[in-house]
Amino acid sequence: MVAAVPLLFASLGELVSEQAGVLNVGLEGYMLFGAFLAFVVAYNTGSEMLGMLAGIVAGAGGAAIMALLCVRMNLDQIVVGIAIILLAEGATSLLHDAAYAESRPSLDAPSELAIPLLKEIPILGESLFTQNVIVYAGIALAFAVGWMLHRSSAGLSVRAAGERPEALDAAGVSVVATRVWATLFAGGLAGLGGAYLAIVSAGSFTPFITQGSGFIAIVIAMLSRGRTSWTIVGSVLFGLSLSIATALQLIGVEIQTDYVQMLPFIVVIVVLVLFARRSYLPSALALPYVRGEK
């Protein structure tokens, strides 16, 4: 479950961004930025909240690069995305090494909030409903985002930016601005996901801590077909397969970690093969919008 949370945040953000037509290949990079800065801030201030906020800022910062280069300057989204990942991996590893190579610090145990009644449910209750505040916020956020996308005019603008930017432009709304906000949103949430990973899940930062979560999040966003309920399902599913190793060990089953680590990716491929025809992507995805061009 814990593993699902970073995926949930990152894929939610990516969902919005993709609906607006921006494919954040660099999502992994935003998460890394977020994880690192969150850790640094949380470690130095002792405050989880500040750490989470820092994560959002860092992720959004990474996304700002994307927004500038791809949305404003119309550079290729995939190339820039790869660049961001490389930069993020290198920079966070570098900075971590420079600052913490000797000390290898870690954070204290994260705070938890238990929901009174639901906690009493036998077996699952204790673990499912005693989570860090952020988790509850995340689930609420998922519903909020879903509502926003499909029932508000802001959401309409977002979806139009991805589906038919010309129409949005004709309606007088700035396509570039919409996409920039969507990208920053994706970055911020991905950063938050990374922050959760560092602060709650792992308790410290190690280079390359995200281990491909960013890419899984992209897939979840693609498979969600615009509906956030699927995003939640997808995140839980993949989160489960990510953390199944520890779960199995608790039960006493010994499976080599490599098999288990492969599991989420195999699940993705299987899902894609089965549902290839149904993956929903906006038509103008990853295509730069230049006003007036045919």
């Binding site: 990942i85 098999y259 894609l272 295509l287």
Partner: protein, 372 residues
Amino acid sequence: MLKASLTAIVPILLALGCMGILLAVLGREPFTFYADMFQRGLFEWEGFQESIIRSAPLLLIAAGLIVAFRANLWNLGGDGQFLLGAALTAGFAPSLLDSLGVWPMLIATTLIAALIGAAWTIIPAVLRGRYGVNEIVTTLMMSFIGIGVANVLVKGPFRTDVAGVARTDVVPFDERFPLLFGTRIHLGFVIGVVAILAVHLLMTRTSLGLRLRILGASPRAALHAGLNPVRLTVIAFMLSGAMIGLSGAVEILGVQGSFRADFDPAYGLLVIPLVFLARLNAIGSLVLVIVFSVIQIGGESAAREAEITSDVLLVLVGLILVFMAVIEYFRVNRGLGTAFVPPEVADRIRPPGGDSPSGSGPAIGTGEVMPR
């Protein structure tokens, strides 16, 4: 040609400059760093040989990437293909060596590596060709799976009885790729260069190359010209995968001799900026890969000297990519020259045949169209 090389150099210089600033901020001496880097990578004979040796697998990867990218197919599964090729090579080499002898073993293992690399691209290729499923995602997923499978193989069936970290049996030094002319450079480098030249010829002089480029420019145009996008996609992907798988074999048979568990130099992603910098031109890539190998070998050594993680080179590569993209923006905007990719691939401004029946664009789901 000269102008092209100049524009390729500028992003590298900018990136180096930027990294110098970063180094200074971190309290390291940038000039010493760069001096060490070039000293080791280029000016020392030992170091230069290392650089050439390092470039061998990278050249093959570059060749593989070019074939795919020019057809507008994003093969991001390089790491998985590389490691699988390496793992199978390392796994089969010792036993093949015993039963067949050196040269048959070398030929057999390189073939096996190429085959597994190609096979690993089939699923993403078919998904993309027939159903329009985004190949970025599928190749990446296959890559992660491939890394896992490679490790499972090395820790399991291919493992040799040695205490400590799992690895395969070491192929004795004398039975690996032969060395050239008394240097320490091995045959793999020649293979790499040949591959690059072959890809260049393929792309520029053969009809297959032309067909692939048309596919890259516009799948609709391809259809109109009577080409079969599905078949071309699979061919492109398999060629790409085969070469990258081969690079894994080169790494084992030329350098490592065995496959240690959890070995993953992640070359796949690193070479991408280089081929783009060379505008997907094979000859240009040849030069840039060697330049980069010098930087990498020298950089690793300089990083050790400066007591900094060698991941700093990741930052460098990322910066190169960014600067390259930005410079291209200015060049295109000021009408100074051509886009950094061949005009075919640059035409992605237009929807990539979204309404073509062969499914080369994404499938449209329930009609979520803006009401008017």
